[in-house]
C-alpha cells in the first residue's frame, strides 16, 4: 500500500476504535423492517451526498481547479425537481431535467475557467453567490408557494432500501464505478492529471487542456446535481436557502484528507471517499459520544489540522528532525 493512503485510513481507524470504547455496541448492525440499521450503516448513509460532491471535486482539483458552487448547484437541481414534479412530468424525466440543469451549471463554470481563463476560485464564486438565488427564483417561477412533492421513485432512490441495503448506497456505488472507469480506464484521468500538473506542457504534448478542464467542471456539476437529488428527495421539498450548505467545504476537505493536493495533478477517487467517511464518522461519533453538539465544529477543525500537519512534508520533516535530535542526546 502506498504511504499516502496510510494517514487517512489510520485516522478513520482511530476514530472507529475510540467509538467502540465509548459506546460498546457501536458496531452492532440489526435488521429492522427489512433494512439494515446501525451506526456503521448510518455513517455510510449520511456520507453519500458529501462523498458524491467530493468525487466531482477531486476531478476538478486534479486539474488544479476548485469548485465553490457545488452547494448552489445542488440547490438548483433540487428546485428543478420540485418544479417539474409539480408540472406533472414523469419522475424519471424529472431526474434527467435536474441532472441536465446541474450539467449546464458545470458547463457555465467550465466556460468561465477554460474559455475565459478566469481563476477557478473566482469563476465559481459567481455561481456560488447567485445559485441559491436562482433556486429560489425557480421555486417562485411556477407560482409554487409550497415547493414540496411526493415521488415514490425519487424517494426510493434516496431513502428506500433494496435487499436490506439503503438504495442510495447502490446509487453511489454505481456512480463511483462509472467515474472510476472514466478516469482510470480511459485516458481522461491521465489527461486531467497532466493538465493539473502542467497545463502548458500538456498542451504542447497535444492534450487539449481547456477541453479537459471544461469536462472536469461538467463532471463536478453532475455529481453535485446527484447530491442535490439525494438530499432533496430525502426532505421531499426544495429548500434552496439551506440545502447542502457548506457542502463545498466538506467536499474540499474530503479531497484534501484523502491526499489530494490543491496544487493539482493528482486524482485519488478511493481515498476521497475515505476522506468523506472520516468527516462523517467524526460527526456521528461526536453525536453518539454524548458531547454537546457545540463541540462538533471544534473537534472537526482540530482533526482536520492534525491530518493536514501529518500530511505536510515540511511538518513531518520538522517533527522527525526534532525526535532524532532527542534520540541522539
Amino acid at each position: 500500500m502506498q504511504s499516502r493512503a496510510v494517514w487517512p485510513l489510520l485516522a478513520l481507524a482511530v476514530i472507529l476504535i475510540v467509538d467502540g470504547i465509548i459506546s460498546p455496541n457501536f458496531y452492532d448492525i440489526r435488521i429492522v423492517e427489512g433494512r439494515l440499521f446501525g451506526n456503521l450503516i448510518d455513517i455510510l448513509y449520511r456520507a453519500v451526498p458529501t462523498a458524491l460532491v467530493a468525487l466531482g471535486m477531486a476531478v476538478v482539483i486534479g486539474t488544479k481547479g476548485i469548485d465553490l458552487s457545488v452547494g448552489s448547484i445542488a440547490a438548483i437541481s433540487g428546485a428543478i425537481i420540485a418544479w417539474r414534479i409539480q408540472a406533472g412530468d414523469p419522475h424519471g424525466l424529472v431526474l434527467v431535467w435536474a441532472l441536465a440543469a446541474a450539467a449546464v451549471c458545470g458547463a457555465w463554470n467550465g466556460a468561465l475557467v477554460a474559455g475565459l481563463g478566469i481563476q477557478p476560485i473566482i469563476a465559481t464564486l459567481i455561481l456560488m453567490v447567485s445559485g441559491r438565488g436562482i433556486g429560489m427564483m425557480v421555486n417562485l417561477f411556477y407560482g409554487g408557494t409550497d415547493p414540496s412533492f411526493q415521488s415514490a421513485f425519487l424517494q426510493g432512490l434516496s431513502t428506500g432500501s433494496v435487499l436490506y441495503v439503503p438504495t442510495r448506497l447502490f446509487v453511489f456505488t454505481g456512480l463511483f464505478l462509472l467515474l472510476w472507469v472514466l478516469i482510470r480506464r480511459t485516458a481522461l484521468g491521465l489527461f486531467v492529471e497532466a493538465t493539473g500538473g502542467n497545463a502548458a506542457a500538456s498542451n504542447i504534448a497535444g492534450v487539449n487542456a481547456r477541453l479537459i478542464a471544461f469536462v472536469a467542471y461538467v463532471i463536478c456539476g453532475l455529481m453535485a446535481g446527484w447530491a442535490g437529488v439525494i438530499l432533496t428527495a430525502d426532505t421531499h421539498t426544495s429548500d434552496p436557502v439551506s440545502v447542502a450548505l457548506y457542502i463545498e467545504l466538506d467536499a474540499i476537505l474530503a479531497v484534501v484528507i484523502g491526499g489530494g493536493s490543491l496544487a493539482g495533478g493528482r486524482i485519488y477517487l478511493g481515498m476521497t471517499v475515505i476522506g468523506a467517511l472520516v468527516i462523517q464518522t467524526l460527526t456521528t461519533s461526536i453525536l453518539i459520544s454524548g458531547l454537546p453538539p457545540e463541540y462538533n465544529l471544534i473537534i472537526k477543525a482540530l482533526v482536520v489540522l492534525f491530518v493536514l500537519v501529518l500530511q505536510s512534508d515540511k511538518a513531518r520533516q520538522g517533527i522527525a528532525a526534532a525526535l532524532w535530535r532527542r534520540v541522539r542526546q
Binding site: 476548485i66 475565459l116 481563476q119 473566482i122 453567490v129 417562485l140 471544534i298
Partner: protein, 324 residues
C-alpha cells in the same frame, strides 16, 4: 496626470463609476433615494462588512484568502456580549477581542507559511474552529446592556440634508484610512504587493516572506475582530450564528472593489466602494418592496460576473497582472 491614468487604476475607476451609476438609477426610480440620509444608512448598515473586507483586501493582495472572517465576527460578537453580562465594559472587552483577532490571524499566517499548506484550507479550519467556539461561549442570543453601548450608538454627526454619520460608519472610515496608509505608504504595504505579484522575486529581493505572511493574516484577523466589535455594538447583542457566510460578502466586496484575486493588483479604497455597491443593491431591492431576496443574490452574482470578466480583459490586454 499620467499617474492618474495608470491602467492599474482602471478597475478602481470602473467600481466608482458603477457605484455612482447604481446610485443615480436608484435616484431616478425612487423619490428620496438620492439623499445623504440613504447614503449615511448604507455606510452604517454595511460598516462591519466593509471593515472585514478591508482586512481581507490585504490577504487577497498578498495572493492568499481568508475564510475565517464570518466566524471571527460571530465569535467576537458573542464574546463581547457574554463579557458584558459578566460586568465588563465594552471598551475593555473590545481591546481584548482585537488582541485575540490579531493573535489568531498571526497564528493562521504562521501555519500557512511554516507548514506550507494552502491558505484556503487553513482558514477553512479557522472558520470551523471559531464557529465552534461561538457555540461553546453561548448558544443563545445575549443582549449588550452596558451604558457605554448606548453612548456609542448616540455618537453621530449631522450631515447636510437630514443625513447622519453614525459611530459605526466613523469607525469604518477611520479604519479604512489607516488601512490605506498601511497599504500605500509603509514598507509592509509594499511587501504585501510584492509577494502577491511574484512571491519568488519578492523573496530574492529580500522581502521576509514569513514575517509578511504572518502580518498579513494578523492584520486581517484584527480587522475581522474590529468588524465583530462594531457588529456587536451596532446590534447591541451577540448571537452565535452572526456573521455566517459573511466571508463571501467580504471577498465579493474586495473583488467588486477592483482587487485581483491573483494578488498584487488593487487598491484598498476600492473595497469601500465594492462593499457600498453590495449595500446599494440590497437597499434598492428593499426600496422596491415587491422584489424577493433572491434578487439580491442574483444581482450580486451578475455584478461579480461583470467585474471579473472586466478584470480578465484588463489583465490580458494591459498585462497588469502577473501573467496567470
Amino acid at each position: 496626470m499620467s499617474a492618474l491614468l495608470n491602467k492599474k487604476y482602471l478597475p478602481f475607476y470602473a467600481t466608482v463609476l458603477v457605484f455612482v451609476a447604481i446610485f443615480l438609477i436608484g435616484g431616478a426610480t425612487y423619490r428620496n433615494f438620492l439623499s445623504m440620509r440613504v447614503l449615511g444608512n448604507i455606510l452604517a448598515d454595511n460598516s462591519f462588512i466593509i471593515i472585514a473586507a478591508t482586512g481581507a483586501t490585504f490577504v487577497i493582495l498578498s495572493g492568499g484568502i481568508d475564510l475565517s472572517i464570518g466566524s471571527m465576527i460571530g465569535f467576537v460578537g458573542v464574546s463581547v456580549a457574554v463579557l458584558d453580562s459578566l460586568g465588563w465594559d465594552p471598551l475593555s472587552s473590545a481591546i481584548l477581542m482585537l488582541i485575540f483577532g490579531f493573535a489568531f490571524g498571526a497564528f493562521q499566517g504562521w501555519v500557512i507559511d511554516s507548514l506550507d499548506i494552502q491558505p484556503f484550507i487553513i482558514t477553512l479550519a479557522g472558520l470551523f474552529l471559531l464557529r465552534g467556539l461561538c457555540f461553546m461561549v453561548t448558544v443563545n442570543a445575549v443582549p449588550i446592556t452596558h451604558e457605554w453601548a448606548d453612548l456609542y450608538s448616540d455618537i453621530r454627526i449631522r450631515l447636510p440634508g437630514k443625513g447622519l454619520l453614525r459611530s459605526s460608519a466613523m469607525v469604518m472610515l477611520a479604519s479604512l484610512a489607516v488601512a490605506i496608509f498601511i497599504a500605500h505608504f509603509t514598507r509592509f504595504g509594499t511587501n504585501v504587493y510584492a509577494i502577491g505579484g511574484d512571491r519568488e522575486s519578492a523573496r530574492l529581493m529580500g522581502v521576509n516572506i514569513r514575517r509578511t505572511t504572518v502580518m498579513v493574516y494578523a492584520v486581517a484577523g484584527f480587522y475581522s475582530a474590529l468588524a465583530g466589535v462594531v457588529y456587536a455594538l451596532y446590534t447591541k447583542s451577540g448571537y452565535p450564528l452572526a456573521g455566517n457566510t459573511l466571508e463571501l460578502s467580504a471577498i465579493a466586496s474586495v473583488v467588486l472593489g477592483g482587487t485581483l484575486l491573483t494578488g498584487g493588483v488593487g487598491m484598498v479604497a476600492g473595497t469601500l466602494f465594492g462593499g457600498m455597491i453590495l449595500g446599494l443593491i440590497s437597499t434598492l431591492i428593499i426600496f422596491n418592496g415587491s422584489l424577493n431576496s433572491a434578487w439580491i443574490l442574483i444581482s450580486s452574482g451578475v455584478l461579480l460576473f461583470g467585474f471579473i470578466v472586466l478584470h480578465r480583459f484588463l489583465v490580458s490586454s494591459f498585462d497588469i497582472g502577473n501573467g496567470r
